[in-house]
């Protein structure tokens, strides 16, 4: 495994979450569970590769999602994915967070992401549901999916992303 696989794998995750995962979500949970796998990847990049790669992945793939699914407006995911991934990198870069801490960070990041997206949509009057309803209806169930995915992706993500840091350190020495 090499770091050159990071971008193709993230593209694959983007394709997965927009095409295949919607078919796997049971009908009773339609509109309630939403996959944010690319965002989880950006958070992992923040934890194990650094704030700049994290910002890059979050910004580019947020922009991709904004343009491809241009509905209400542009820029929501670009701003949120970029900034939250950067913030994660800023706080946890090089800390080598253990698994439980990583899962907690992913859960917190996803909550922040969904809540802030709701806030922006609310400010622009795109949605008018109360926050308590959205929290229970879509944010909370989505958190479980994201944390589950983060658990499954923890080992490969860490191996893939930390390789770069290790190599850099080796080169410096």
């Amino acid at each position: 495994m090499n770091t050159k696989w990071v971008i193709p794998l993230t593209v694959l995750l983007f394709m997965l979450e927009t095409t295949i995962v919607p078919w796997l979500i049971p009908e009773s949970l339609h509109g309630r569970i939403a996959p944010h796998f690319v965002f989880v990847a950006a958070l992992y990049a923040g934890m194990y590769a650094g704030r700049h790669p994290a910002f890059f992945i979050g910004f580019i793939f947020g922009l991709l999602q904004d343009v491809v699914f241009y509905g209400h407006m542009l820029g929501v995911h670009t701003l949120l994915m970029g900034s939250i991934a950067y913030l994660t990198g800023l706080l946890l870069e090089g800390k080598r967070a253990p698994m439980l801490a990583a899962l907690a960070v992913v859960a917190l990041g996803c909550f922040l992401y969904d809540a802030a997206a709701y806030g922006i949509y609310r400010v622009f009057r795109v949605t008018h549901e109360p926050f308590e309803f959205v929290l229970m209806h879509s944010i909370a169930p989505s958190l479980f999916l994201q944390t589950g995915f983060a658990l499954a992706a923890y080992v490969p993500a860490r191996r893939l992303l930390e390789a770069k840091v290790k190599k850099d350190v080796d080169e410096e020495e």
């Binding site: 491809v68 509905g71 949509y121």
Partner: protein, 302 residues
């Protein structure tokens, strides 16, 4: 003066300054992209179309596979469904005879009344089949993409239906693909508010406007119903065709509840959508007949 220099000292912190600029730029982008846009810029077109081109290789096979498992699980229901379909076909054959007779009679009467060519073609709505290629992963912006675009004559705000009923409206149009916003996102408060004028299959004289969706009840809100309106619970709500954009008779849903509206002057009905918004594979875009009235944006272009 002291306060101004203090302000400058804050901005000397470069990170804070960059953050501020970024926030302002994004607020501007969001505000600018919020409203109606007939033409997208070329980077948007290029990215949107090329990504959707790849997405279609994933979505359809996944749908087939999911359908296969679904079929195995619902094997028992298929027998019953087959029975129902036979009944429907029998009814269809009977209706077809009546329809042919009425259509011929209608043609004859139009000739007799000397309808103009334009009036005759007014209801020649075309149903163009489109395949869904991807679904948005944002529950508050749940658009899906279809493989028809502006080169196929698709324009914003065209109605999108399935065999069950109205699903959504075409939202943003790329050259080869377009995004569709489900009618569950109708919102009278937003800047790009859309309203669908509706009537009932059982009571042709009733009238109301569907312009909101109540996510907590999972129902569309039909407003501005007159107090004397005969609309009753259980009625099938269809588009009235009065706006000219959506054809007459698209099924929207059934009335679950009717009550006095917010201001007490008119009534409000809650309508359960007929269409299923989940796991869509094929949809139809309703293209209104071209009556020589080009959209304003094209007239401006030389």
């Amino acid at each position: 003066m002291g306060r101004v220099s203090e302000l400058f000292r804050i901005f000397r912190n470069r990170k804070l300054f960059v953050l501020l600029i970024v926030l302002i730029v994004f607020a501007a982008i969001m505000g600018f992209s919020l409203g109606q846009r007939d033409n997208l810029t070329w980077p948007e077109n290029f990215v949107g179309d090329s990504v959707s081109f790849v997405q279609q290789w994933f979505y359809k096979p996944a749908g087939y596979l999911a359908g296969l498992f679904e079929d195995i699980r619902t094997m028992r229901d298929i027998y019953r469904e087959n029975e129902e379909l036979r009944n429907t076909v029998a009814r269809y054959a009977r209706d077809r005879v009546t329809y042919n007779r009425i259509e011929l009679e209608n043609e004859r009467l139009k000739e007799a009344l000397a309808f103009k060519e334009r009036q005759k073609r007014m209801f020649d709505y075309e149903y163009v089949i489109a395949h869904v290629v991807a679904v948005s992963p944002d529950p508050l912006n749940p658009t899906f993409k279809i493989n028809l675009g502006s080169t196929d004559g698709i324009r914003p705000d065209m109605a999108v239906v399935t065999t069950d009923g109205l699903v959504g409206l075409v939202n943003r149009v790329f050259p080869l693909y377009s995004t569709v916003m489900p009618i569950t996102q109708l919102n009278s408060e937003s800047s790009g508010a859309r309203a669908i004028s509706a009537t009932a299959m059982e009571h042709r004289e009733s009238f109301g406007v569907i312009e909101d969706y109540d996510a907590q009840r999972g129902m569309l809100v039909m407003n501005r119903i007159a107090e004397s309106d005969p609309l009753a619970e259980g009625d099938v709500v269809i588009t009235s065709g009065l706006g000219g954009v959506y054809p007459y008779g698209l099924v929207i849903g059934t009335v679950e509840k009717r009550q006095v509206g917010d201001f007490g002057l008119t009534h409000t009905a809650y309508v359960k959508p007929a269409a299923d918004f989940d796991k869509l594979a094929e949809v139809f875009v309703v293209v209104p007949p071209d009556l020589g009235e080009e959209p304003a944006s094209e007239e401006e272009a030389p």
